[in-house]
């Protein structure tokens, strides 16, 4: 049942990504609205997928790579919906929907059977750790998209090529504000993710911190964002520099999430995928 809903959500995201890209190309508001309607349907289906899996497995479904990818995509789509209602950066759909779709596609290729929970994962703290970490990651994904848009828009304005692209992307101010906004929300969440992770580590392995590759890389990511936040507040790093940092930061996030699992063996490596 959960896999059915997952596949349904995938289908909706696929359609939504096409429609959002169509919005960017044809620049018609109706397409943006249609895309949001489709992505909402996909999100509902995805919620059902997570819920049914939770019921069928008897534990929060964030215990292997398939589940993590699906959860990450779910969070990104959730944030996309928040944007469509609150911030209304219209071009964002054409970025976030394809990213969510890519994560889903990756998940689709992985084994989806429910396996018994490994003893170390049986913890009160584990779901919290995953929740905070992924919500933070999803917000950093938004910062990444805004960073890319900022660089493109700035390049257009600096090189004085004012045309179709300028018209479709938001103003520099909106993009830079969003970057800062994402940092303000994302950084505390990442911090919480690391703290809850450490507490869980204390219960699971009897130590708060053990320089496992995952832990090391999340610390690197955390330090990176801390530096950006600091520069932003004190020296007024904004605009181009902040945009580049948001892009590099996202690459660090991606490496911490995927690269470490796939390349560096450690405690977070999911043996069963």
């Amino acid at each position: 049942m959960n896999v059915f809903f997952f596949k349904l959500a995938f289908l909706f995201y696929f359609l939504a990504a096409l429609v959002y890209l169509g919005y960017i190309v044809f620049f018609k508001d109706s397409l943006n609205r249609t895309g949001t309607a489709i992505v909402t349907a996909g999100f509902v289906s995805h919620c059902l997928a997570l819920l049914t899996r939770y019921v069928e497995a008897g534990h929060t479904p964030v215990t292997n790579l398939y589940e993590s990818l699906s959860f990450f995509a779910w969070m990104i789509v959730g944030i996309l919906l928040v944007n469509q209602w609150k911030y209304k950066i219209r071009a964002l759909g054409a970025f976030l929907a394809p990213i969510a779709l890519t994560l889903m596609l990756f998940a689709l290729a992985l084994p989806k059977e429910i396996v018994p929970l490994a003893p170390v994962l049986k913890s009160f703290w584990h779901p919290f750790h995953v929740f905070f970490a992924f919500l933070g990651n999803a917000i950093f994904t938004v910062a990444f998209c805004c960073g890319v848009m900022y660089l493109v828009q700035e390049n257009q304005l600096k090189s004085k090529k004012i045309g179709a692209i300028t018209k479709r992307l938001p103003s520099l101010k909106v993009l830079d504000d969003m970057n800062y906004h994402a940092l303000k929300f994302g950084f505390p969440l990442l911090t919480l993710g690391i703290i809850t992770g450490a507490i869980w580590g204390e219960y699971a392995w009897g130590r708060y911190w053990g320089w496992d590759p995952k832990e090391t890389w999340s610390l690197i990511t955390w330090l990176f964002y801390a530096a950006l936040l600091h520069q932003r507040l004190t020296v007024g790093w904004r605009g181009r520099k902040a945009a580049i940092m948001a892009i590099v930061g996202f690459l660090a996030v991606l490496f911490t999430f995927l690269g470490v699992n796939l390349l560096l063996p450690g405690l977070h490596t999911y043996v069963n995928w």
Partner: protein, 450 residues
Amino acid sequence: MEIIVVGLNHKTAPIEIRECLAFPDERIEEALGQVKSLASVKENMILSTCNRVEIYAVARVPEKAVADLKHFLSDYHRLPLKEFERSLYAQSGEEAVRHVFRVASSLDSMVVGEPQISGQIKSAYEVSTQANTSGLVLHRLLHRAFHVAKRVRTETQIGNSPVSVSSVAVDLAKKIFETLEEKTVLLIGAGEMCELAAQHLVAGGVRKVLVSNRTYDRAAGLAHQFKGEAIPFEEMSVGLRRADIVISATESPQYLIEHEQVAKVMKDRKQKPIFFIDIADPRDIEPKVEDIENVYLYNIDDLQRVTDENIRDREKEAKKAESIVQDEVVKFVNWYRSLDITPTIVALRKKFEDIRKKELEKTFAIHPNLSEKERKSLEALTSSIINKILHDPVTFMKRADEEMMTDLYIDTLRTLFQLPSDEGEGSSGKGEEKPEDEKKEERVTPNDLA
């Protein structure tokens, strides 16, 4: 009966003549009444803006009506016709319909795609309905014109990019700052150019105007005008620290703002973005300034180039719009032609005849053993009934035709009996498409005829 347009616009007449022929708002109703009293004119409305003066009319005899309207313009404005006749254009039929559609969708405007005209034509139409000088044909014509304007607006990008240097500058500022509200502008120089630019930005929402000029008194004067603040020329850096947008238009032979100075200011500003607009010739701002991060510099040539590109884009979109107009002109003319009396009577007879034949066939099928004679007499009976029924309406229509009053009856007849128009498109079909228009037309027109 024909739709005609008589008038002049910014392309055919200089401003002096347009001014002389313009109708002040408060006197339009009176003028409409005078036009209506002309025997050759059945319906009319007057569109008078600063770029055009036009009379749209439905004429009983087109050539006569055109001449009458020209004389009306001359008499009304007490201006000899020969002084402006060369500027006048007169169109009728399909050309007139196309003209009205093009005006309404801003294709005939001085700045193609500018939005004001659609509001102006709407209120001109409203005045004519109030004055009861527009009837069935003008109602339909104008409602279609508004529909065309809406299609052009939504289906093309015609009004989407700014096509004047100052609006391009405002547009760019919005792409940097999102909004002009709460922004501070620094004017360097106190000449007319700066004043104009400042007016534009203040209208766009700029909060504070700073002025710096080599002669402090002139800066103070201009600053006063915008409730702003004058800044001594030597303390320009203070102004640069505070401003978001800097407009420079002095006659200084050398650069007033240099790379080093701006780089330093940016540090003090904590990298807050700044937008320089250099409209001076020779330039006031060192071009290298734009290499600094969060600094945007456009000079007058840059702005002009963007403006030109936008104008080219708009022309491309205007081509799309023209084909929408053409499409709608064809539809309208189909409806309009169906208001002729002869095809209507033919269609009415055909409809009755078809019904008669079908019903007879049914009867013959039920009673197969009717004799030839009985059949003949049934045929004769039904034919005679139809002719008797149609006699009065057809006679009435023919008489009404001589008095040029048929359009309402024909339209009603076609709607009541669902008669198709010549082109195979239901004339009443358009009524179904826009039921409100139809109702309105029927409601207003009887007054017009009274």
